[in-house]
Amino acid sequence: MSDAGTYVGDTKLHLNRDHALHLLREMLRIRRFEERCAELYTEEKIRGFLHLCIGEEAIAVGTMQCLTPDDAVLATYREHGHALARGLPMTTLMAEMYGKREGCSRGRGGSMHLFDAATRFYGGNAIVGGLLPLAIGLALADKMQGRARVTACFFGEGAAAEGEFHESLNLAALWQLPVLFVCENNLYAMGTALERSESETHIFHKAQSYRIESEAVDGMDVLAIEVAARRAVAAVRAGEGPRFLECLTYRFRAHSMFDAQLYRDKAEVEVWKQKCPVLRLGHWLEETGMLDRAERARIEAEIEGELEAAEAFAEGGTWEPVEDLARDVYTEQPA
């Protein structure tokens, strides 16, 4: 997306001002939520691991536009963006970050384990590669029960080194399952650069070797993501088997709050920051006259209000009584 107009053209995306602003707003919600989370982490309101997806917002936002409420979503431990884009309320999300009972996982999961049955959001999985087999099973259940639903599965390029990635891609292709694989290739598996860990650095080539239709997409371009995802989801929903998108992206922040980032150059980070998906869409909207300063300020104020409400909700939340520690280890059954 180097110049205005690249978005339209040979795609089926019907881009109007409302939709473009919606995409911007969704990405900004994630950005501002995570920036606030980082602050709350230093205030020790949020503890444990905190993995921010700042810089990668376009992938979750672009893809979610193509899913219906009936579809299923699975994501990794860097999943605040996916949860927000999927429609989990910011309130219960923030309460979960705090570990409060009102959180979307009742406080049991925290940042890495966001779950929500209402939006079919199946976590929040903190074992790299561990969610891919689950996606296979959810899709298998849909196929066996004749439901035209899509299971979207988001994971990083680090997962491509795991056996579960290969087992799952094979099963999806072998059984022609309705799975959309979305690889968020941010070039680093924690601190290990892709070229230092993979002999084949084009992840979508690996997917192609399983005979899955696959493509690489500019992960910093929300509209390119939406276009590619729309095409892929339509095929998956039509029963044409799995599809695979490799989204080339970059994490602007550290891997987690404990990461000193000794493994990458600051200059490299700066280069990628110029490609920021929020900036790019914002600039384009301004250039095309779809967004002015007043509108931008209005969006930011709206999000600020949502954030304040979320934080107040989390602050006002309650702690799970210790007596309920073992609740939900097993399903309670009538005696």
């Binding site: 996982s105 087999p133 296979i136």
Partner: protein
Amino acid sequence: MSAPTIETSYREAVREAIRDAIKRDPRVFLMGEDVGRYGGCYAVSKGLYDEFGPERIRDTPLSESGFTGAGIGAAMGGMRPIVEIMTVNFSLLALDQIVNNAATIRHMSGGQFSVPLVIRMATGAGRQLAAQHSHSLEGWYAHIPGIKVVAPATLEDARGMLWTALEDPDPVVIFEHVMLYNRTGPLAADAGPVAIAAAAVRRAGTDVTMITYGGSLYKTLEAAERLGDDGVAAEVIDLRSLRPLDDATVMTSVAKTHRAVIVDEGWRSGSLAAELSARIMEQAFWALDAPVGRVCSAEVPIPYPKHLEDAALPQVPVIVAAARATLGL
């Protein structure tokens, strides 16, 4: 008057349980390596592929983590999968899915998602298959909160535990000892589902409580018979459920006999036998007249030659001696 019985085998009882479950519930399907065309590594599912077809008797690639995780996902998606892992040895390749997903998702999601999955696997030694095909890791699995673990030892349990496990809203792992598949005997013609939570007293006695499960049950019963010949009345408890453990049945027996011996094919260190021994100490210490005895596998990778394999596993004379020791005999 007793109900009519049929002569059957443990293998056939498991097969009948699978067939019954698939007929009863359209959500049930069997998935695993060579369960279909081949008929199952231990011939448990022989004939079911022809009867039910490739969708419901689903052959998988050698991807234990992949298809076990797929079973978890399918269970969350409304199916009632039976995942067969060929043997416990290969289940180590699926530990991530069993321990990190199946066992955690309900709790970690605040009770929003359950995993009504059944995993069956063969376990144990005795067929001279050497170290990588002879593990008894039931105790490892029983260590994990969030899953239930059962070990059917009898024909009734082989026939009846599966359906009860499938009706359970949480993941249940069923261990079938390889030395039991060929065991034959009478089974009630109308045998059906059985409760899985409680232990069973397989032989009543007053002098010593012998606690065991799975493949060691028959060795323990044989030992009890020999003890009986010497005038020692041994009570034999078949745990059946390894998680949760039925403490009440064990403690009631120990309160009566004042002596306990645990027979466990797992290695002694950190074993189910260790857990039971601790529970007896905690709950029945003042009832004991002797230290709790344990007969476990020797702490070696199970060797191939028969004489060494036999020496590594719990055997009847050792069990008899352990029981006699609690009586000062």
